[in-house]
Symmetry: C2
Subunit: 302 residues, 2 copies
Amino acid sequence: MSLLTLGSVAFDTLETPFGRREHTLGGSGVYASFAASFFTNSALVAAVGDDWLPEYSGLLRSRGVDLEGLELRANAKTSSWSGRYLSNMNDRKTLNYDGGVMAGDYVPIVPDSYKDIEYVLLGNMSPLSGMSLLDALPSTKLVVADTMDFYIRNMRDSLMTLLTRVDGLILNDSEAELLTGIKNSSLLAARKLLEFGPKFVVVKRGEYGAFWMTKEGEIYIMPAYPTTEVVDPTGAGDSFAGALLGYLAEAKVLSPESIKQALLYATVVASLNIEGFSLERFQFVKRTEIDERAKRFRAMLA
Amino acid sequence: MSLLTLGSVAFDTLETPFGRREHTLGGSGVYASFAASFFTNSALVAAVGDDWLPEYSGLLRSRGVDLEGLELRANAKTSSWSGRYLSNMNDRKTLNYDGGVMAGDYVPIVPDSYKDIEYVLLGNMSPLSGMSLLDALPSTKLVVADTMDFYIRNMRDSLMTLLTRVDGLILNDSEAELLTGIKNSSLLAARKLLEFGPKFVVVKRGEYGAFWMTKEGEIYIMPAYPTTEVVDPTGAGDSFAGALLGYLAEAKVLSPESIKQALLYATVVASLNIEGFSLERFQFVKRTEIDERAKRFRAMLA
């Protein structure tokens, strides 16, 4: 196995200007591990309850996502989230959240066959769960954590400890501002974040793209893929992170070239994901379609 | 002469978080013609009053800007503008504006030696003045107009007529929204603008860069140069437009390669301009410095 993703598996209820879906497949771990599977052998560590739908396991396995680390716990409920996107598609409102079996104190169970995994993505999850996972993995080479406002607000101390144990951090510009207190400059915020422990930070700026900054001051910039087909932004950041790490796990080297190619693929994969609700569009994407869009996108860039 | 710029010449009074300058050199024509001069033979058509300071003519001439088209009118006042930037450096407030000799009904006087000019930049100016200039130029090959919220709000009909006479339009994303009524999607707004006449539109997105869209649906994307050295954003858009057109006037061809290179240079030149008040920093910039920064910037991009 090349990349292990820890992240939530959830039932989502979604409202966007394009419609509504109830009780559909979602969660950071689902989007990230699915996105990574286009590039490398992808495994997911997560837990679901006895309300889980086996067809969703089938959907993930159909892309080759290894689910040996998907714990099915009896007498427990699968995590659920419901949210609504406003007309600009950038702002969203969480209407309901129930961590279920993956609530804040969730301890991931790592199959023995994963113990030698070198590339790890800690998806949007409790920092405590992330550290628990790392305790079980003695051979990591590259650990990258995604985070979000909820953990910054409510578990800051744990998050700060986690940051001393990761190589990279991925987050939104608004989250970078929240975590550092630095307003109006995601560049300065990124520099500050690098003092917290990570060797590199990837700041996502929604419709404007993302940049990667290293402790040595290197910067790589990727605009967003220009699309007007946004149907459901859920999982955009997770699929971005999954594709980024999936590509890097396969490249096995961090170089300017591999980082830029990873950012390009991550951008393209995220743009495909948001063209449909849940995995409705994403599940039919093929690597050839990703490569074709990546080629068209590259032609638009300098 | 290769590029003719029509644009304002003004005395600016500026306030930013970094300080204040009174009665200093500014105006869209000044920034644009100066920026263009790094790449091509640049000429400026504008008017000033008898309060004009000859040392400013010397500053422009020192970079090779041709001022045969700078009309010195007796018993008239040079245009003046004063504004204040808020702490995020994106929002600015106009405190005072006096069009002076270049008010809305200003008719540019075009020297005979400019009549065969093929490349024309209509800087931020009254659309009536722009059309008057075009009437005097029978041989144009590429005409690009910059515009701003003031003319969109107050001279919309004239602006719409001007748009049927230009090849390209440059504007901010907020101005694109204002002119089209299309919110939350600068891509859709750009598509709409292309129905108004221009063959291509360049939408500037401040700290997030710019994109170029053609009627045929081609898109070229350029992020902003990552800088934390913003001292005075005045003239950023004008110097962007000047460098863009200056490079294209010298390249003499619109191809994916020349457009992308022009966007890269425009971004770099604008980033140098905003590192100082007025032309305080800009006047000491050399082409070698632009090329070095362009090379560093290119290494950050895909």
